[in-house]
Subunit: 470 residues, 2 copies
């Protein structure tokens, strides 16, 4: 099934109506059913067509969440947790209708333990709100998926981003969660110890479950000390293969790069056009190093040597914030540069992830396939992890272009899987990647379904995401 | 329930007899029922009383594992996966009888991908066998729980050890597993991409499940480059509080120590006696640094400064292998030094883990409680993670000492939980810590039970471990 053929699920209209009445009684003005508000609660950035919920509850407390979940169970109505709506694979759509839970009012920092480098926050806080709050403590939360997503949403899609190569993904940075399960009871999956071998790892089961097993109410996160020094650097290579070889050697030598980002020539060209730069249109790497001034210097020089050995241009790096901003300007504007390639164009952001030994081959074949499909699609990659994104820029009103994009995406996923990779490094499955998940994991998806059925027997928690149950 | 009151479960004698006949037909000499062999398949190092299986199958292939699991399902007989038997909480006991699956013949390295820093191994390989195999590749597998455990066993108990502070635990180092589930089908939980957000994290669900949800057949691991340089160091502090403050500052500053181990004065005294050393009987830290020569020097000097600021003796460090071995000699002999404290004594190794801000307080109270109980119990800690071990040395034939030990352990666990910690940092729950797991996670344990029931409806996979189902 392509996204263009997204079909609605079966609606329980009687239940939805009865539940809406109960919600109006319980929540008053905090329950909204106007179309504009409902439309805002599908998503904000994806090209996946919207499927509106029937109403939106603005939850403010765990008790609110519990009572919505209990009503949903009683009336057998779907509920869809909603943070910032920045997910990319239809995770917040309501294919069978139901009620959206807006978490933006549950955005408090509950505790910060500076000595332990951890904090506990309500699920609806955004990562920028959190980092703003933390600024005076000398700590920061490193995961940066680009969008100003909520922590609950980032946990639910197992998000990561540019600095996962150094700091890991949400899987590595969530110490514990509390979640309201389908029976309306809240559980805590762990406490604040840095490690534990106490029973099943329910934390990691809920991280990445896209709200289908429980509704996250709070998240305990690992924090990092703000680096004493941050340096940025840039270089380009005659070939993609050489750029990737430099990445592999950097990782093998254990140089703790904070970011190592690749742009292919079409992406450099797009950035040049958008940001008024004149970077050579060659495979390019953008790096960031975190540490003490001495350690940052060691890292930068060690990388510079590797890059040179692999035929790069001179590796220019600097710890001066203004100079660094100049070097990274192109990378920061990637999304808008893609959008700028075509007036009125719709950007389809899609990602896969492969072992880094296969990265050059995978990107090269993908570039050829973009060309063969007559598509516009610059590529940018979090290449330390083998993760890359294609930003297809299409005319969303042209069925032929949509068909070409869908065919291209299917081939991209097959290619990544054939190289021992995954159909999504950081966007999740949602509605958009279900057929690729089955291609990737086969029988394991049946195990996921068994877990879903046992923990949510009435299928009320974000149904229709990750897999179909029937 | 204390360990001393360990009770057998209900036996399905008819099923066990019928299954044994089938196993004899299918496996011939590879199925053994002699008492000596059965006794070897309970454990090797724990003080938990043995509960023997009824027979042992030496599996050699995935097909072998599948057929044992299918027979177990058909006859409703427990099966218990067995690696090296080095688990500490009764994980390989057979409380309701059943069949032990000996994995030591499934010890092949299936693939090594040096460029991707990963490998795939059969579950029965030991970590020393693996590192021996890897030596020529310049790579190593860092997790070191002390014992020469199997990779399958380490994954199943979510093991870690001295260098988890740098390299993480099994949770962080297992990329994927294959497992035979209760229906006899093998699933693969992921492929080789460094990160993925494709569906439920079944990898992390099976890591730490102690063989109760599926039987691991192969494990894909992250590897590390062997560090160019390794340095070791030692210093002591007037007080435990100061030693812990130094640890906290080291972690906060992001110094990537590979190991940071604490010994309390009784442990130093035991090591002095056992290894003929004359270290001051003070709270002591042993460190290891991995990296380039320049980076190791930077790390050692930075730590030395922190230690001095916290009142330590001069921090002595060296990259010379012989000198380093001398410094670490005491730490390496910790287990034997405890055993040497009392002729014929039995060592009860128990662990908890707390946020590092609470570590000094937790250890200080624990020391007082050891004294109040009239017990011998040196303490050693993987303190970068807040994890520490008490090695109680008791006369296992003296019921009063066993009762004192059990009371002490119960109080130790309550203390750790009251400090937002966990009842086990790296040993797992097995049979020994079930009551503490419930105290720690409450309703979340019911969620674990729901998952267990859905994935293993006949309760044949290592029943009676982690929690009771009734």
């Amino acid at each position: 099934m392509g996204i263009s053929a997204l079909r609605p699920g079966t609606r329980n209209d009687t239940g939805i109506q009865a539940m809406s009445e109960d919600l109006r009684t319980r929540f008053g003005e905090r329950f909204q059913t106007g179309e504009a508000i409902r439309a805002q609660h599908c998503h904000t950035t994806t090209w996946v067509p919207s499927q509106l919920p029937d109403g939106v509850v603005f939850v403010e407390t765990v008790e609110d969440v519990k009572s919505v979940v209990r009503l949903a169970g009683q009336h057998e109505v779907p509920i869809i947790p909603f943070g910032a709506g920045s997910s990319l694979e239809g995770q917040t759509n309501a294919p069978s209708g139901g009620i959206s839970l807006d978490f933006t009012r549950m955005n408090k920092v509950l505790s910060v333990n500076a000595e332990d480098l951890d904090c506990t926050v309500e699920a609806g806080i955004t990562r920028e709100e959190l980092n703003e709050y933390l600024r005076d403590t000398g700590l920061f939360f490193p995961i940066d998926p680009g969008a100003n997503a909520t922590i609950g949403g980032m946990a639910s899609t197992r998000a990561s981003g540019t600095n996962a190569v150094r700091y890991g993904t949400m899987k590595d940075n969530v110490l514990a969660v509390t979640a309201v399960m389908a029976d309306g009871e809240e559980i805590r999956t762990a406490h604040r110890a840095r490690k534990s071998s106490a029973g099943y790892d329910l934390t990691r089961l809920l991280v990445g479950a896209e709200g289908t097993l429980g509704i996250l109410t709070s998240v305990t996160l690992r924090l990092q000390g703000i680096p004493e020094e941050i340096a940025g650097g840039y270089c380009n290579f005659p070939t993609l293969q050489q750029a990737c070889e430099a990445v592999i050697m950097t990782i093998q030598l254990g140089i703790p790069v904070a970011r190592i980002e690749l742009m292919n020539p079409p992406q450099v060209r797009a950035c040049n056009a958008y940001s008024g730069l004149a970077l050579p249109e060659l495979p390019s790497l953008f790096l960031e190093f975190h540490g003490s001034p001495a350690s940052v210097k060691l890292q930068s020089e060690a990388f510079g040597e590797i890059a040179r050995d692999n035929g790069s241009s001179e590796f220019q790096w600097t710890a001066n914030p203004e100079e660094r901003a100049k070097i990274w300007k192109a990378r920061h504007n990637v999304f808008w540069s893609a959008k700028g390639l075509r007036q009125g164009g719709t950007v389809i952001a899609t990602d896969v992830c492969v072992p880094i030994s296969r990265l050059a081959e995978c990107i090269t074949q993908t570039e050829a396939d973009i060309e063969a499909h007559g598509l516009l699609g610059p590529i940018v990659g979090h290449v330390g992890d083998g993760n890359f994104h294609v930003s297809l820029v299409i005319d969303a009103d042209n069925p032929a272009e949509i068909a070409a994009a869908e065919d291209f995406i299917a081939r991209l996923n097959s290619r990544a899987l054939a190289m021992d990779g995954t159909c999504t490094g950081e966007h999740g499955i949602g509605q958009g990647k279900q057929e690729f998940l089955v291609a990737e994991l086969g029988g394991a998806v049946d195990v996921m379904r068994q877990i879903k059925r046992s923990l949510d027997p009435k299928n009320i928690l974000n149904p229709g995401k990750i897999f179909a149950l029937d």
